[in-house]
Symmetry: C2
Subunit: 350 residues, 2 copies
DNA sequence: TCGACAAATACAAACGTTTGTATTTTTGCG
DNA sequence: CGCAAAAATACAAACGTTTGTATTTGTCGA
């Protein structure tokens, strides 16, 4: 039984009901030691009974901070970002910060809209994982914002404040793994690239170099994010004269769709073609064949970005965060090309 | 080159720079016809140059609404909710509303935290798809909130305001499909159930009834959301004396993991066991075999929920929303059990 | 040139909270 | 019992916008 007419309960209502000044109510609700325990309890009970919901707008206005941090995520539905979000939330909770996520669906204009909304909400800090917009945009933002809203990027080394993991090492390990298995013709699927060099591409070429394998542009394919494009990549692949015996896919979803398309066309993985993914999504271990892939320390990246933000907001100079390395997860979607040739022989002789 | 010292630019700063009153600035920024076009342009240019970011806290405070709607989502990473979110955003944009999503990760307490945060932000309305918390909670919330923050549930018929689709029909069609193929022993995988009857379970039993097939509790399994549990379900299934020839899985992810486990144990899908999923996630068409599943009209549910919310907030009595029916999508993970027996025979004779 | 009326702008209060300071009440001690 | 110090509470200003009303400026026709 609370005040159920239009207006919402305010601190003043509670003050009136308790016969005290609004300032006392505020302090009681904050648990300040300046108010007598008995009064505090009475007020807190009253607030609960009356269904008081703090007006964050008023609070934010006067304190000029919101205890809110904003996160701009390119694609919420990408399981890849799940652990990131969890890491952010867990660490934020430790600092009494609350988190607002915004999905941009990888659209640059949506990214800016989201950033604007968050800034209008007067967030205390902004975390931007794998931004689409160019760094210039964020730079000018940071400049006009002054130091009031620190911005921490994830995996964008050129940003003034960033938390990053090794984006090349994991992919190099994938390539090395494939090369060790004996593959020489390895395809590479490029994703929709943001600004800057694609670290996977860097890794691809570096690994090839180290193994003294010639780079062949014919083996580079483009994934546009739709699963249909994965299928067409497979068709392009199979149309090649001297095709690849292994492919480093852009991510796990891309890899899964490619495996499907390959099978559809009568090829086996890894017997005929090895496929490696990236991201180590939850399903990766539960598809056929289970995916060889790379897992990134997303949870830690999330955690550290909040820590970094926090120290930035408190004038402390943040220590360089220590982020674990990406890991190569070898499962069954990759194998030796010898197996492929053997299998081919046996199947053709049958 | 904007004001790059700590304080952020306010309307007053712009007013001073333009030599006008703050109220004129507000009106100019709103594009009000009460201000002379020349002044308006000057002010708008000035605002842009100075890097003005509106203070939503102040704005919300005085207008006592935020043009923000909140959405509490059980699991952002579930692709199932992607279209929902898109539908909500698209429709919200039409009404000049902005959307804040909050992921609860299916945790009831997180759901309440999220709702609290949103209410403190003074959202103009709340959309709750597939809530975990009991309706009592939302009822008491609605009561203490008065009419100020309308709450629209998605797929919760017992809620005072809700937008729902048929949650039984699609599953019935799956079951009918399996039965038509000749299956008599059909397994069912129950998910982590919220409050109320599980509509899939209802569909399962009803379809069995209609086909005069006896209900056998031994064919009911429980999926806890982890993929590992999908594997153990398969083991339970295979341990049965008179096992199922088809299984209606809780969702596509569960189905994919089960297919993997079945193959791992030497069985083929659908030759030995048919598996049907639910949700029609993006990957469903791109795994092996492509999944027979049910797709729900998530986008429309999102759209309609915003429309409903909007009319609620404007005193209009919302018309009953028209939501399309769920669709059965037949792909290749289901087939006739005869094929299974044939395959078995041929393989045993080989 | 002077009203009258419209257009453009200025004024001022309000939103709900927080917080520094002032005031009142209580406590403890000589 | 009185007084100082401490504890508890009240007062008042401020945060940045919005918006109804008042005031100033400009325009037009007689």
């Amino acid at each position: 039984m609370t005040g159920s007419n239009g207006r919402r309960i305010t601190i003043k209502d509670i003050a009136k009901a308790a016969g005290v000044d609004p300032s006392t109510v505020t302090r009681a609700l904050q648990g300040s030691s300046r108010v007598k325990p008995a009064t505090r309890d009475k007020i807190q009970r009253l607030a609960a009974d009356m269904g008081y919901v703090p007006n964050m707008a008023a609070r934010t206005l006067v304190r000029s901070r919101s205890d809110l941090i904003g996160v701009v995520i390119p694609d919420m539905t990408n399981p890849f970002f799940r652990d990131l979000g969890q890491g952010i939330e867990d660490e934020a909770a430790k600092h009494d910060l609350r988190v607002i996520f915004n999905d941009t669906r990888g659209v640059e204009s949506a990214e800016r809209d989201a950033v604007n909304l968050l800034l209008e909400l007067k967030i205390d800090g902004l975390i931007v994982p794998m931004a689409r917009s160019p760094q210039d945009y964020y730079d000018s933002l940071a400049q006009s914002l002054g130091a009031s809203v620190p911005i921490v990027h994830i995996n964008r080394d050129e940003a003034p404040h960033h938390v990053s993991c090794d984006r090349v090492g994991g992919s190099i390990r994938v390539m090395q793994h494939l090369i060790e298995q004996g593959h020489r013709r390895i395809g590479f699927v490029r994703g929709p690239t943001g600004p800057g060099a694609d670290p996977k591409m860097v890794a691809y070429r570096r690994a090839l170099d180290r193994a003294s394998i010639d780079y062949d542009p014919a083996l580079i394919f483009s994934f546009d994010g739709t699963l249909a494009s994965s299928v067409s990549i497979v068709d392009q692949l199979l149309a090649l004269d001297d095709t690849a015996t292994a492919v480093f896919a852009h991510n796990d979803v891309n890899a899964i769709a490619m495996i499907h398309a390959l099978r559809d066309r009568g090829l086996r993985v890894p017997a005929d073609v090895s496929i490696a993914g990236h991201d180590d999504i939850r399903l990766a271990a539960y598809v056929d064949p289970p995916l060889t892939t790379v897992s990134w320390p997303m949870y830690e990246l999330g955690q550290q970005s909040v820590r970094y933000l926090y120290s930035l907001g408190h004038g402390a100079s943040p220590e360089e965060p220590r982020i674990p390395d990406p890991e190569l997860v070898v499962r069954e979607s990759t194998g030796s090309p010898k197996a492929a040739r053997l299998a081919q022989t046996s199947s053709s002789s049958a």
